[in-house]
Symmetry: C2
Subunit: 172 residues, 2 copies
DNA sequence: CCCGTGTCGTTCGGCCCCGAACGTTAGGCT
DNA sequence: AGCCTAACGTTCGGGGCCGAACGACACGGG
């Protein structure tokens, strides 16, 4: 690593200069700034939401977002094949395998090899897992509600509809 | 792992039964289903977008989303202190340290210890890094545009405004 | 001058995440 | 029966990600 003999612009100079630089650099490119803002805000907001949840409701019960989602799916769907559970939890089956491992170690879920087709493995909640998710989910939903409340009804419907369009198009 | 002597409901039975179960289980809880759908769709859409980008534009140049973001910030802002870069890239400084390590190994960025305050480290693009980001970014933005095009103008503004509200409230 | 106190970036352990490779099993075709 | 092919879940290597702990450093008050 180099060292630098100092003459750093102050934060204020920097802001102004940075904007000038940005405009100078971006000005001659055919850019869609709205699209940039949209995608980057989407990303930031989701990261913020996820962090918030993982640090409050989920931290108390030591569950990652994905682990929680898996439990939720099992709660609603009942015993589920690994592949479907992975799809529903929005991760690859390789990832899900690891998540189920940790959930199994904690005694929250159990695996079961099917006899009719021995390639298949299903996952189901244990009693303990069921107790946990039914206790945690209402609190989780209350957090979701707090997020949704920040938006107007129009914004909410516009967003949900827009997100659906994206999901329909992109490979999910 | 247990084994199971089979009598699995078919997929169709399952769908119907699962919905019945879901309604039965959720019916007596004070739930905000709209909030649930909103948050879960947000999450799924962002994951889909991120995967899409990481598998097309970013895969070609072997950059993760975060690595790309860091390069972009450095491109726009110029030489930046580690802490600010982490905040801007939306990760903790611990994470950023690792990302900068890999970028540095590839010769795309360089670290510099400041002499005025020897606790500080700044990161800047190398010529190679600058060449890479200025080549990749337009393609990245074109992908962003493709996503944004899926929405109506109204949806776009509603979404951006809604996301800003979320970001303003949640600890980012 | 020196000694707290606070901030910097880095390191560490643990988990999540992915894609590729792998062994196992099912099922059709000859 | 004996292949071939395809689908299943797991494993593995590489990296992202976080929070906590850490050493280096700055700076003000005794």
């Amino acid at each position: 690593m180099d060292t630098e003999t100092d003459r750093r612009p102050t934060r204020l100079d920097d802001q102004i200069q940075a904007e000038r630089d940005m405009l100078a650099r971006l000005g001659d490119l055919p850019l869609d700034l709205d699209a940039l803002v949209l995608v980057s805000n989407l990303h930031r907001a989701v990261a913020a939401i996820r962090r918030e949840f993982e640090q409050t409701v989920l931290a108390e019960v030591r569950l990652s977002w994905t682990a929680f989602t898996a439990l939720w799916v099992l709660w609603i769907w009942g015993e589920t094949e690994t592949r479907e559970l992975a799809h529903e939890a929005n991760v690859t089956k390789g990832t899900l395998s690891g998540v189920v491992d940790t959930l199994e170690k904690r005694g929250l879920v159990a695996r079961r090899r099917r006899t009719s087709d021995r390639r298949l493995v299903t996952v189901r909640l244990t009693d303990e897992g069921e107790a946990l998710i039914s206790e945690v989910f209402p609190r989780f939903n209350r957090e979701e509600q707090r997020v949704a409340e920040l938006l107007t009804a129009e914004q909410r419907t516009a967003m949900v509809d827009g997100l659906r369009r994206i999901l329909r198009t992109l490979p999910s």
